[in-house]
């Protein structure tokens, strides 16, 4: 049995990355209308969370929210299932906790501890939207985008009508950054996928495993970004969403790359 066929409609896209602070800018960059300038991303204050929670949220949660909020404009989030994908979730908190634990006092902040779980972004998203639908939080190393996309796709096929997919990975700092030299920058992207066509901006179909070469960028900086941040592996798909016509994208993965057709709707 091979992958079942389905059309998944894209209802919203969100982006938060250096030089790609929102989807509008992202579209212009991916279309080649403006050149890519890797200006640092400043994460917005989270509008949807109570002030205390918003203040405690780390960079990974703030970037994930920024992309998710943009993707969900005009969409009822109170009944929307979600998949959050990240290789390392809040790496800065892991860094702080491990550093504190190396100190003889071993004094760990309770807030940082509960925010250290991989599903912190998913948990805060539920609190912010009041949504009690299933939320998953998945990891696949450098292939986390593909793992998240596959989970969202499988949910759409058999369990839910619409799903929010959010992928994020942050650079971190300190020793954990030193031992992970391959990570590039911090990045989040989000998509609302649905089986419902009405109101969609694009249609995804023909998802299949492939031996074809992955879709890459001519721009060296964007290509470096794509290769070195798990969330940025999704740039190839976003670029096809920004394109004027139908195209085929190959999302790179060590688990076997996935090909899919991307058809922007007028």
């Amino acid at each position: 049995m091979m992958a079942k066929q389905m059309k998944a409609y894209v209802h919203g896209v969100g982006l938060a990355a250096p030089g790609l602070p929102d989807w509008q800018t992202g579209q212009a960059v991916f279309r080649g209308e403006v050149s890519y300038q890797a200006e640092p991303i400043v994460a917005n204050k989270i509008q949807l969370l109570p002030r205390n929670e918003a203040r405690r949220a780390g960079l990974s949660v703030r970037l994930a929210f920024q992309a998710a909020e943009e993707a969900c404009v005009g969409i009822n989030t109170a009944t929307l299932a979600s998949v959050f994908a990240s290789s390392a979730a809040d790496i800065s908190i892991a860094e702080k906790i491990c550093s504190d634990l190396a100190d003889p006092a071993k004094s760990v902040s309770p807030t940082q501890f509960h925010n250290s779980v991989h599903n912190t972004a998913a948990g805060y998203w539920g609190i912010a939207t009041g949504c009690r639908e299933p939320a998953n939080s998945v990891a696949g190393g450098i292939d986390s985008f593909l793992v998240g996309l596959r989970e969202a796709w499988a949910l759409l096929l058999s369990e839910v009508e619409s799903v929010l997919l959010v992928c994020f990975d942050t650079e971190g700092s300190g020793l954990l950054h030193a031992v992970r030299p391959s990570i590039h920058a911090s990045c989040a992207l989000a998509m609302v996928l649905s089986r419902k066509e009405s109101g969609a901006v694009a249609c995804l179909s023909d998802l299949s495993q492939t031996d074809m070469a992955p879709t890459t960028f001519d721009n060296a900086e964007l290509e470096h970004f794509r290769q070195h941040n798990p969330a940025a592996r999704g740039f190839a798909l976003l670029s096809a969403l920004a394109a004027p016509g139908k195209s085929q994208v190959v999302v790179e993965s060590r688990q076997g790359s996935l090909a899919l057709s991307v058809d922007p709707l007028a």
Partner: protein
């Protein structure tokens, strides 16, 4: 989709493999002991798998070495599981067997060690971010060890992780991404969770007492558990030993939308998870013979879960938490307690709430204080986690 369990194994503080688990349960013998975990100075009890300190990984895989992957390796070696996976690879092809593992902290003990080395002015030795720290490390190790090349993912939703893997595996099979799957969970003791839960004042100084009027927190445990699953319709329904096969009849996932570290006191998310699992299994609440509670023994969890259970099942259905035996194995709790559910069905035996002396009068569910040897056809197992992540599994026999 109903999942047939072709084989399963769990390694907990009660010992290696599922017979050790069953012996501990049937003898009412707790696996908890005073915490002597390296570098930990806490007045608490833990459910440690002592033998995972010992055997290193196979030489060609030593770059994956960390406590969590050692525990995974130890778990894989029990109950003929490796052999069973080899058979599945022959039947379906290694690229059609998926891998879905839950963990909350993966190999963070290696990262803790790295920071102690740095504190002592030492250069990091053989640390690998990908093979030790990353959440996917445990799946990367198990995938390589088993020679699987199908889709692989880690689910990390804190303490519901290795219940949710059954749902992810089932929908991946339904989507045609794979034909069979190895699912499971591995979480190992580490300072991060010991001191982290301690900072939240959620760790008990004594062995945990779920649902007790005087309960005062969790005992942290570690465990590795795995199951090989296929769709019920392709399984022949007969296990290697000639008996029936266990199954996952339905699952229910939900979110609390309440708080990062404490459950919705009204238990609405928990209730939704149980209702959805029953609906998918096509069972009425009265068809459930035993409820394996999440039952962490924190004041807030047991009270909220008790409310949710009563809302769904009323006050008669026998229920207990088994964390007094194994401790709270966090990201491995889902698979450990699914295994306990299958054992309850196989042995027609319901475990009591070990260490519980007098049930909190606010908890109206039927908490078992003695084991019960009555027929068990269907079990529901609850796993709830930080971030308000809930998952319930309905377990039974294949028809």
């Amino acid at each position: 989709m109903q999942l047939a369990i072709e084989n399963y194994t769990v390694t907990t503080a009660l010992g290696l493999g599922r017979d050790a688990l069953w012996r501990g349960l049937s003898e009412s013998r707790s696996g908890l002991s005073p915490c002597d975990f390296e570098h930990a100075d806490l007045d608490t009890w833990v459910g440690a798998v002592n033998s995972c300190d010992g055997d290193p990984l196979p030489a060609e895989l030593e770059h994956w070495d960390c406590r969590n992957n050692r525990l995974a390796e130890l778990g894989l070696q029990q109950d003929g599981f490796l052999h069973c996976v080899e058979n599945a690879k022959k039947t379906y092809g290694a690229d059609r067997v998926g891998l879905f593992l839950g963990t909350s902290t993966s190999g963070i003990t290696a990262t803790e060690h790295l920071y102690r080395q740095a504190q002592d002015g030492l250069e990091p030795d053989d640390f690998s971010f990908e093979c030790n720290h990353e959440y996917f490390s445990v799946a990367g190790y198990v995938r390589t060890r088993l020679g699987l090349s199908g889709p692989a993912m880690v689910v990390s939703t804190a303490c519901s992780s290795s219940a949710k893997v059954f749902a992810s595996a089932a929908r991946s099979i339904a989507a045609g991404f794979c034909d069979a799957a190895v699912v499971g969970g591995v979480d190992s003791l580490c300072l991060t969770t010991l001191y982290g839960f301690n900072s939240l004042q959620l760790v008990a100084a004594e062995p945990c007492r779920p649902s007790d009027a005087n309960r005062n927190g969790i005992s942290i445990g570690e465990a590795a558990g795995f199951a090989l699953v296929v769709p019920a319709q392709v399984s022949n329904g007969v296990s290697n030993s000639g008996g029936n096969k266990p199954s996952v009849m339905g699952w229910g996932e939900s979110s609390d939308a309440h708080h990062m570290a404490s459950p919705d006191p009204a238990g609405r998310g928990a209730e939704a998870a149980m209702q959805r699992a029953l609906t998918m299994a096509g069972l009425a609440p009265r068809a459930i013979d035993y409820i394996n509670l999440h039952g962490t023994a924190t004041p807030a969890n047991d009270l909220a879960e008790g409310r949710a259970v009563v809302n769904v099942f009323g006050t008669e259905t026998p229920a207990s938490s088994t964390k007094g035996w194994t401790g709270h194995t966090l990201g491995a709790a889902g698979i450990v307690e699914a295994a306990i559910g299958w054992l309850a069905i196989e042995k027609n035996w319901k475990p009591q709430s070990l260490n519980t002396v007098s049930v909190d009068p606010e908890i109206k569910a039927n908490i078992l204080l003695q084991p019960s040897a009555k027929p068990v056809r269907h079990v529901i197992s609850n796993s709830f986690g930080f971030g308000g992540s809930n998952c319930s599994l309905v377990l039974g026999w294949l028809p």
